[in-house]
């Protein structure tokens, strides 16, 4: 019997410093069979163990067709991620996963996609943006709305420029606080929603970021006629097991780690916005 709690060893192949506090680790399983068998979809996550520090959930950000490695982009927020920031090529971590349900990429085929993200990096959404961009002909217009607290926080700036240069890809940036030379807007990312010319009935929306930002975005989207089943978002909760067992991540009857982290708004409409639920 497989033990779903038992990590498998993976080796760091590359380390990329994305910003002072954000870094990407490219890794592969030591067991080549395990690496070959590893399949995931954008929005799914792994539980990553650093020996001596502990285990944390981190989303997988590379393309699912990359079969020889997988990438985790990590922001230093606590003890374990701080420890992981010191990892170098050749070092090892433990991996369990992939876990959860990712973005509805099949449902998005042939539709326009509005992607709204707030906060630093927001790895879960970047993974799906890359996925959509790489398969550009399968999807309609892409609207990418990225908000950051401070304009200096934006990582992957060149990537946004590249995306913006593609046909029918619309990139709008917003910063609460902007320094000189910022070309985006100043203000909240959710305010950008009104500026996008959406084809309402053929659009699917994907949100990622702090819950208050997503709630504001959902309210805006519904007010312009987007229906509940067109709204998808990635939730964050205390996740320790990844398999819907330890109980911490529950929202109503849903386990975020297993039934999410990506949810359709219609699944959680009763609970979103209930403070402390």
């Amino acid at each position: 019997m497989n033990d779903p709690h038992l990590p498998r060893s993976a080796v760091i192949d590359r380390r990329i410093q994305e910003s002072p506090t954000i870094f990407t680790l490219r890794m592969q399983f030591e067991d080549t069979d395990a690496q070959e068998a590893f399949e995931f979809s954008p929005g799914q996550f792994n539980m990553v163990t650093l020996l001596g520090a502990g285990e944390i959930p981190i989303s997988i950000v590379n393309d699912p067709e990359d079969s020889h490695f997988f990438d985790h982009t990590i922001r230093v927020v606590g003890r374990v991620s701080e420890g992981m920031s010191r990892l170098q090529p050749g070092d090892r971590v433990g991996i369990r996963g992939p876990f959860g349900r990712g973005w509805p990429v099949e449902e998005a085929v042939g539709r326009d996609v509005l992607l709204v993200t707030g906060g630093l990096g927001c790895a879960p959404l970047v993974s799906v943006i890359r996925y959509l961009i790489k398969r550009r002909d399968r999807f309609g217009h892409l609207h990418i709305l990225q908000g950051v607290k401070h304009s200096d926080d934006l990582i992957w700036r060149e990537q946004y420029d590249t995306w913006a240069s593609l046909p029918d890809v619309n990139v709008l940036l917003a910063a609460d606080v902007a320094s000189k030379g910022w070309h985006g807007q100043q203000g909240l990312v959710t305010e950008l929603i009104g500026e996008v010319n959406l084809r309402i009935d053929r659009t699917i929306t994907m949100l990622c970021g702090p819950e208050v930002m997503m709630l504001a975005a959902i309210a805006n989207l519904r007010s312009i006629g987007i229906l509940d089943h067109q709204i998808w978002f990635s939730m964050e909760r205390n996740m320790q097991c990844g398999i819907g067992q330890c109980g911490h991540c529950q929202i109503g009857p849903k386990f975020v780690c297993r039934d999410g982290p990506v949810f359709c708004y219609s699944e959680l409409a009763d609970f979103m916005g209930a403070k402390g639920f």
Binding site: G54, N238, I243, Q245, G247, H248, A274
Partner: protein, 385 residues
């Protein structure tokens, strides 16, 4: 489904006629059951008085059971009483059911070492174990835990290792404690399913019937006579009396789903003003499954292990995300517990997560009664509708 008392009796009648085929074990021969179990290779856990409560401890002989032992349970109160009766199972339950026997309060999940680097699963050692005197509410609760830990996409080998070793000897409750409401949840007071051997205690002995081939093989070795009609009637009568004596009830499962529409109800504040957020209710609940995982490192840093231990949605860290607590307030934690137990479980498992044992009422230091709180939240609100 919620059974009224008369339906309860009908159901029991059916199960007696169809599946219960009791044989009679005279009280003077009860020790033979112990001998057969031991000969078959089981260690025996039986109900023994401990720290003012009753726990399932290792025993070898019926002499270690205490005749005349009864319990008094009220909101926030548990007392054992020692009478001069002959019966061994005239109490209801202690603070723990079967949960700790399968889902360990604390256990190592895996170990890890630096040189050579690797992770090794750590499975518990377990031996065949017969548990004597398991209550209907706890059998139902174990079925819920089985579903959570075993019948999922990721079955738990640690739980399974212990679970597979159990032989469960269930016993009908001839009396109900004041806090019991198993008739209302449809789980008791007579054992319904999940046992290997069923048992009902009468003054002069025990009715035994098999629930599984494994249990049947044990009963067969005792070479007992078929129970007489009068004995069957006594059995039915006392479990019916136990059911009739229960005063507490829970609303219907469908009604309980409406708790999700009452998340902002004013009564949550009323409960929160009394709740100490101590977590006693989750610790004694036979279905609560939350656990915390922590990483423990050896002093020399050469090895580490991941350990899980029971957690509670009443703990401050339960909803913690990097310092931010989703449920920082007691109100939010009680609401999480009650809505999950009575509503969330229905989608997760197809039934409520409560089997009517009433432990959360008994062991709550301030005597909060979930049956009352639930009705206040559902019924007061329905007046406003």
């Amino acid at each position: 489904m919620i059974l009224t008392c008369s339906e309860e009796a009908v159901n029991l009648q059916d199960s007696t006629n169809e599946s219960r085929q009791p044989q009679f074990l005279p009280r003077t021969r009860f020790q033979e059951l112990f001998e057969v179990l031991k000969k078959t290779g089981y260690q025996i856990l039986g109900p023994v008085e401990r720290d003012g409560g009753i726990g399932y401890l290792k025993i070898d002989s019926m002499e270690q059971l205490q005749p005349g032992l009864t319990n008094e349970q009220q909101p926030g109160r548990y007392r054992l009483h020692h009478g001069d009766g002959v019966r061994l199972f005239d109490w209801n339950h202690g603070p723990q059911g079967l949960k700790p026997l399968c889902f360990a309060p604390q256990e190592i999940l895996w170990k890890e070492q630096r040189e050579p680097v690797g992770f090794q699963t750590h499975l518990p050692e377990s031996i065949p174990t017969a548990v004597l005197g398991v209550r209907a509410c706890d059998l139902a609760a174990l079925a819920i835990q089985d579903k959570h830990f075993l019948h999922s996409d990721a079955p738990d080998p640690h739980y399974r290792q212990r679970r597979e070793q159990l032989l469960l000897i269930g016993v009908d409750c001839a009396y109900s404690a004041e806090t019991c409401f198993c008739a209302s949840t449809g789980d008791g007071p007579s054992v319904k399913r999940g046992f290997d051997i069923g048992m009902s205690e009468l003054d002069d002995g025990f009715l035994l019937w098999s629930g599984t081939p494994k249990g049947g093989a044990i009963v067969e070795q005792l070479s007992l006579a078929i129970a007489e009609e009068s004995q069957l009637n006594s059995m039915l009568q006392q479990t019916k009396q136990a059911a009739d004596a229960q005063l507490r009830t829970l609303p219907q499962a469908d009604d309980l789903l409406r708790l999700y529409k009452r998340l902002e109800h004013i009564h949550w504040r009323d409960v929160a003003n009394r709740c100490l957020s101590c977590g006693n209710c989750t610790a004694v609940c036979p279905t609560c499954f939350c656990y915390d995982v922590h990483h423990e490192v050896s002093l020399d840093g050469a090895s580490a292990q991941n350990i899980r231990q029971w957690d509670s949605c009443f703990s401050a860290s339960h909803s913690s995300m990097g310092g931010f607590k989703v449920r920082g307030e007691i109100l939010q934690r009680y609401r999480q517990w009650l809505t999950h137990k009575l509503a969330g479980w229905q989608e997760q498992q197809g039934r409520i997560g409560c089997t009517g044992c009433g432990r959360c009422i008994t062991w709550c230091p301030v005597g909060i009664d979930l049956t009352k709180e639930t009705k206040n939240i559902l019924w007061e609100a329905s007046i406003d509708e």
